[in-house]
Symmetry: C3
């Protein structure tokens, strides 16, 4: 069996040395570690934004992967440090909602990180990525179990619910994230759409967003002429709004939280 991968997500940016230092600490504690940067460009302190990225990316990693996530405005206060086992993977980060994807698994287990032996020898009050979470991720990769880290936690912080809702025959979701290409990703997953509109083929969906109506879901970006606005199921299994060869978010003036309404038209 090969070692588990460690992913690393933060709001540290890449202009300073913080990301590199955490990589160093992980290798110091577990020299064989394989660390993959998810992104470090989370806007500073935006926990919900980071939680969305983790939810979108984690399912693409193999079972056993350890996700290290550090967006931590409460570092050094009495907010707890957590390690979770959920969905066949591990998650390490502060108790502020960042690990929402793990906690949404009914079978999740969460422990507080307390055992000093798994931390850096000296723990600062301002950089737990280096002193707490990084070392713990390394120890988990080396085989430590989350039960060894500290007591079970039964009341972890959760994010406010953000599920699509029914309104008459419509399903109403919202824009969650804009990717690099200007595509607007929503909280309307394929599972939610199938459950709300069982058996409806892609051509009969109608999507309304920013005063526009898009008819039918397209399969991929390049099937329409450049400039066309399209709705499609993106690679992380969510409905997204895109402009072929362009930036749909800029074109439509979309912002996070904007409503996206879906209906099924008559056959």
């Amino acid at each position: 069996v090969s070692d588990p991968l460690i992913t690393f997500l933060s709001d540290f940016g890449r202009e300073d040395w913080f990301v590199g230092v955490v990589h160093g600490v992980i290798h110091e504690h577990f020299p064989r570690a394989k660390v993959i940067d998810l992104t470090h460009e989370i806007p500073p302190g935006h926990v919900a934004h980071a939680a969305f990225v983790l939810e979108a990316a984690a399912p693409d990693f193999p079972p056993g992967t350890i996700h290290l996530a550090v967006v931590d405005p409460g570092v050094g206060t009495d907010r707890r440090a957590l390690a979770a086992a959920a969905r066949g993977q591990h998650f390490v980060g502060p108790d502020n909602g960042l690990l929402e994807w793990a906690l949404g698994d009914a079978a999740h287990r969460v422990h507080e990180i307390r055992e000093r032996r798994y931390l850096r020898s000296s723990v600062s009050p301002t950089f737990h990525g280096r002193d707490v979470f990084g070392p713990v991720a390394a120890h988990l990769a080396a085989g430590v179990r989350i039960e060894q880290l500290g007591p079970a936690v039964h009341d972890p912080e959760r994010l406010p619910p953000c599920a699509p809702r029914r309104e008459g025959s419509d399903l109403v979701g919202q824009v969650m994230f804009f990717d690099r290409f200007g595509n607007a990703l929503t909280n309307l997953t394929w599972r939610v759409l199938e459950s709300a509109f069982p058996g409806v083929p892609e051509g009969r969906f109608e999507v309304r967003v920013a005063g526009r109506t898009l008819r039918g879901l397209t399969r991929t970006y390049g099937h329409s002429a450049p400039g066309t606005l399209v709705a499609l199921m993106g690679s992380s299994g969510r409905l997204e709004i895109a402009q072929v060869g362009g930036d749909a978010a800029a074109r439509l003036g979309l912002g996070a939280g904007d409503a996206v309404r879906v209906t099924a038209t008559e056959a």
Copy 2:
């Protein structure tokens, strides 16, 4: 023999999770993989820009290196997926001109990627970096040969030719790329210059660009006073226009495609 390196070039940016996910998939398919990011900051969909980067960087990597390149506005359409062997290295990417550097080798071999066993178990129509190209790069690193991936391709897409031309006693090239320092890299390689002006020493070249005339090629940036405009053979073997300690592109208002004329003066 050590494992081949895998380089990774894309237009994914580093704000989203796409780059990390491809790294994860490669390691899942070949745990010993060594993946080196070339850059992910190609402007979205700019195939020619990415092809230039690949041409500039690939020769600096060892024989056997596998170059994974994903700038893929046609993902999910009927554009083919390719793997090429050329110049002693491997290249994996979409059939849209991105692999021009490999195809410029008269002895190149190209195969279409078709065999499902070398792809991700489920292939989406919108993220072939994750589902097709990444897994194939991993399999090539593990020893699979390009012939195993699918049928030979004899008509891959090429970029429009972009070679310097003679105009009387001038050799006329163009600006191809601006690097981080504001240096303007051209398509005038040392080989082209030597062939056009055999035996001419560096001091007798004259370079005209943006209404300026630069006399002689300098050896490196720091040999002239700050602010001086210089022409020199850069580290990837191309004539470049630079400003000592400054940004030549901004100073001269240069854009990609601007003409750069070279002549040899009398001894």
Copy 3:
């Protein structure tokens, strides 16, 4: 014993291929190499800025770590190439002050890099990260000693001194660096403060900056209400000025070199 880590710091940015090429060269010379990017976003040519980053980051890495640092406006001129042993680690870079942190160790040893066998087979005049410093870092990781690289150097370039000074009962330091969160890091290390104000508890320090007076040092960011300006000892052991949940540098209009005055108030 596991292999030493190699850190890599430069002003190359991540839009071009330079960083990737150096990674490739290191792996070519030492396939087991573990290379950690510190940052490549140093403003082009800003040696002092890079020297500060190296000083802040290096102590967080294990003994034996090799720090590869390339901010090198004098590349190809007669500036020397150096390798240093200091503070239990190695440092490789140009002789322009970039290695100031190593040279500040009274027990440092520095050698000039001269032996061709440890360089790339062909050395360009414009890219010594690829042709000189990268290969040397790889050779050091493989066990080569700095004495084998070339003659000892007794007069390396140093940066202008930048130590805090006493003015009456005040200790006067300056802003050195702004991190991603807008925190302003100073040259007032904990050691300097303890030596200037022995036994003074955190609550009795007073910090004056940009016309403001901050009373007491706080332990971490999250202990005060959002928007509060605070002074605290940051994770690299330096006094920093921060705004809870915000950007202190922007709020106060701070610039590098701005004075930061510290006094101790009566008990």
